[in-house]
């Protein structure tokens, strides 16, 4: 009853619903089962709350890390491209370009454990076992020079780990340090000397641009003829598939457009690392233009794993069948290759994404 009174202000509404309010509440929902709580409540707190039993050593961690993480974070946790570095940066927090890593910035090892276990690797979350998580945290600590190479991390010694920046954080103090300063009656006239422009964003030239060189999204002139300024909806709709089909070879034309379109959606799982289509370049993974029908590990300029290079040299050619088998189980099909992707579970997704790769990446 009192719960409802706080929510509903109208007396009439109260009268209608008061009967539904039991002393026990609304009686909605059901009790969560222990197995369900265990499956979903995986949070680990700085005091060790939530840590499962287990352990892992630095060397195991290095192996698991090389397999699951190094493609983005680098073999030594140093970070590749703009992916986050996890090691180094100690003493850099006052620099103009601070390097915020587990060693230099993160306050708690529990955060590393929690995040790896629940959210990593990117694109294959919740696939790392508790023991492997202990091992990877141990390796990251080692990469930061915080433990020796014979270190074993477990639920028993976990809370003994103190990260260098544990004391580096203060609770929001804006109410004391900023609000009084910014709460004076504001000046309305002749508040300062005439101003000069000291910085112009145009000097940096980093804003996305429209075709005419203006900042992307600049409003078209209202008084220009509508036909001249607005894209023809029908033209655009027709132009896009046409442009995509144009360079397609006969092989690509064999794919059902619906399958290709479904494959494009499946490709969302891939495009964090792989680019495809006109102008695609190598990123975390190789670009995928022209891979179908060609030797594995052969995209120019990409640093493949030894395993992938060898597979290509031994004659592996990407076809619907071989690529399908690879995508179903990347680590099983080519052990120790560096693609950190768990694989596609559904055959229809595999067929679709291959159709898309063949079509969009046709050379």
């Amino acid at each position: 009853m009192s719960k409802l009174a706080n929510v509903l202000t109208g007396a009439a509404l109260l009268a209608v619903t008061a009967g539904a309010a039991q002393a026990e509440g609304f009686g909605l929902g059901r009790e969560a089962l222990p197995e369900e709580i265990a499956a979903w409540d995986v949070a680990v707190l700085p005091d060790g709350t939530g840590l499962p039993e287990g352990s892992g050593d630095v060397w195991t961690g290095e192996e698991v890390f090389a397999d699951a993480c190094a493609a983005c974070h680098g073999d030594f946790a140093e970070g590749i491209d703009s992916w986050p570095p996890l090691a180094g940066g100690l003493g850099s927090l006052q620099d103009r370009r601070p390097v915020k890593t587990v060693g230099s910035y993160w306050p708690y090892a529990s955060t590393v454990w929690d995040y790896i276990h629940r959210s990593m690797p990117f694109g294959a979350a919740q696939t790392i076992s508790a023991d492997d998580t202990y091992a990877m945290v141990a390796y990251i600590l080692y990469s930061n020079g915080l433990v020796e190479d014979d270190f074993v991390l477990s639920h028993e010694n976990f809370t003994e780990v103190v990260l260098p920046n544990a004391e580096g954080f203060i609770v929001d103090d804006r109410a004391e340090t900023e609000y009084p300063r910014f709460s004076a009656e504001p000046c309305m006239s002749e508040c300062r000397d005439p101003v000069e422009i000291t910085k112009r964003a145009v000097d940096l030239g980093v804003t996305p641009e429209d075709a005419d060189g203006k900042p992307a999204g600049t409003l078209p002139p209202i008084m220009a003829s509508a036909e001249a300024s607005a894209p023809e909806a029908t033209e655009t709709a027709e132009a896009e598939p046409a442009a995509a089909e144009e360079p397609a070879t006969e092989m690509a034309a064999a794919y059902d457009p619906e399958l290709v379109s479904k494959g494009e959606r499946v490709f969302n799982k891939c495009k964090a690392c792989h680019k495809i289509g006109e102008g695609a370049r190598n990123g975390t993974g190789p670009h995928l233009n022209g891979v179908i029908g060609h030797q594995a590990g052969a995209i120019e300029g990409f640093r493949y794993s030894k395993a992938m290079l060898e597979a290509g040299e031994e004659g592996l050619v990407w076809t619907d069948e071989t690529l399908g088998a690879y995508l179903a189980d990347p680590r099983g099909y080519i052990p120790r290759n560096k693609m950190s992707f768990a694989g596609l579970r559904k055959q229809e997704e595999i067929d679709a994404v291959i159709a898309y790769i063949a079509t969009a990446g046709a050379m």
Binding site: G25, W83, W106, F169, V206
Partner: protein
């Protein structure tokens, strides 16, 4: 067809003349004189004679094609992967305060997932008397509340800490949207489970692969946090957390967990990745502020702005913008035309709601000379939006988050607008 062509030619011819005439007489007190009858008025146009689209031409309508530039945009160099990235609301092209869902900025950590109402589950567990699981249908049976609130990424304006960098308020202030939500007060769900006395924090997390999670103190959880399933009158869009997201009024967007799947009750903050390595504010001395949840008062002139230059010449000019505060209502907005030397009070247009976007307008007679436009929000606590330099003086240049400094636009004589800083 030949009729159309002729008409088009005539119309364009007229517009050309009008523009030239307008250029010659702008600034005059009286309106420009037409050089001849406007064929758009004197000739019967197609749309005034034949049919338009029937009903059901688009059972769920999209904006007319002439508005195709009003879309979210991203800045590709900001992030490595589009599934863990952000884009920006085209605030330069919108008016009023409600952001349409279809162009409201997105931030995903592992991509926007498809989750059906049937597959949806919400768990409340931890330090509660009775851990519970709710289906979507269960949630629909709790009493509902409504709130209109802005959701602003803590990094909105983050690229501008070091100096003016991006051309357009879509990019400098566009990590924000404002919607009217309907949902269940989180308090009701927590009370249903029965929070134990030692349960002083909740941890909220999403069902997506990132399971993005944040800790929220119990006081806030019991105050105005909403478990929302409708926005702007319709179901949440996929990219905004369909079917259920958390609404945390006034607090940074990262806490507004989408695809909400669990509310855990704990004795302490979880100190997750998103509240330690990210969303903490590094100060000049190398220490960092944590738990900086509230979004302080801020404003920006949305037009004129770099993506919305002045094309009509001298004379009446509408200056329009947005103001907001995570502490409550906007009390006043001032606008300066000279880079902060002199200020005048703008009009607050429409309802002023707590922790929601407020629209302001200032109508001026532009003399065609250059202007250095700024706006400054003042909220009901008396907090006055600071300059960027005032913030830098306290926090240094490495803060990344919570840049609520005053934005400066340089309007040139030709009406083009640039993002600048002044000293």
């Amino acid at each position: 067809m030949s009729d159309d062509t002729q008409k088009g030619t005539t119309r364009r011819g007229f517009l050309g003349t009008a523009a030239a005439a307008g250029g010659a007489v702008v600034g005059a007190a009286t309106a420009a004189r037409a050089s001849g009858p406007d064929p758009l008025i004197t000739e019967v146009q197609d749309w005034a004679s034949s049919f338009g689209d029937p009903v059901d031409a688009t059972p769920y309508g999209m904006p007319i094609r002439f508005e195709s530039h009003v879309v979210r945009r991203n800045v590709e160099w900001l992030t490595e992967s589009p599934v863990s990235s952000i884009n920006f609301t085209p605030i330069h092209a919108l008016e009023g305060t409600i952001t349409p869902q279809g162009c409201a900025f997105e931030r995903h950590h592992s991509g926007a997932i498809e989750l059906t109402k049937a597959d949806y589950r919400l768990m409340i567990n931890g330090l509660v008397d009775k851990p519970l699981v709710f289906t979507y249908e269960d949630l629909m049976r709790f009493p509902r509340a409504s709130t209109t609130a802005f959701c602003e990424c803590a990094a909105n304006g983050g690229m501008e800490w070091g100096g003016a960098q991006l051309e357009g308020c879509q990019f400098t202030q566009g990590m924000i949207h404002n919607m009217e939500y309907i949902g269940v007060p989180l308090r009701l769900l927590l009370e249903e489970a029965g929070v134990q006395p030692e349960g002083t924090w909740i941890y909220v997390e999403g069902a997506d692969a990132s399971s993005n999670g944040r800790s929220i103190p119990m006081e806030k959880a019991m105050d105005d946090v909403l478990v929302a399933f409708y926005a702007n009158g319709e179901a949440l869009r996929k990219e905004h957390g369909y079917p259920v997201r958390l609404v945390v009024p006034g607090w940074e967007g990262n806490m507004w967990v989408k695809w909400l799947r669990r509310v855990g009750v704990y004795h302490a903050a979880v100190e997750s990745r998103e509240e330690t390595s990210k969303y903490t504010d590094l100060m000049a001395d190398g220490t960092a502020r944590k738990w900086t949840w509230v979004m302080d008062a801020k404003s920006v002139i949305t037009s004129p702005s770099p993506q919305a230059p002045i094309r009509h010449g001298k004379g009446p000019l509408v200056i329009t913008g947005l103001a907001w505060s995570g502490q409550g209502k906007i009390a006043r907005v001032d606008v300066s035309l000279d880079g902060g030397v002199n200020w005048q009070e703008a009009r607050l247009t429409g309802d002023v709601k707590s922790k929601a976007l407020t629209r302001f307008h200032l109508d001026i007679d532009w003399d065609g000379s250059e202007m250095i436009l700024q706006s400054r929000a003042i909220d009901e606590t008396g907090y006055v939006q600071p300059t960027k330099d005032e913030l830098r003086e306290i926090r240094g240049l490495n803060n990344v988050y919570h840049n609520n400094g005053i934005q400066t636009w340089w309007v040139r004589e030709d009406g083009e607008v640039e993002n600048v800083e002044v000293g």
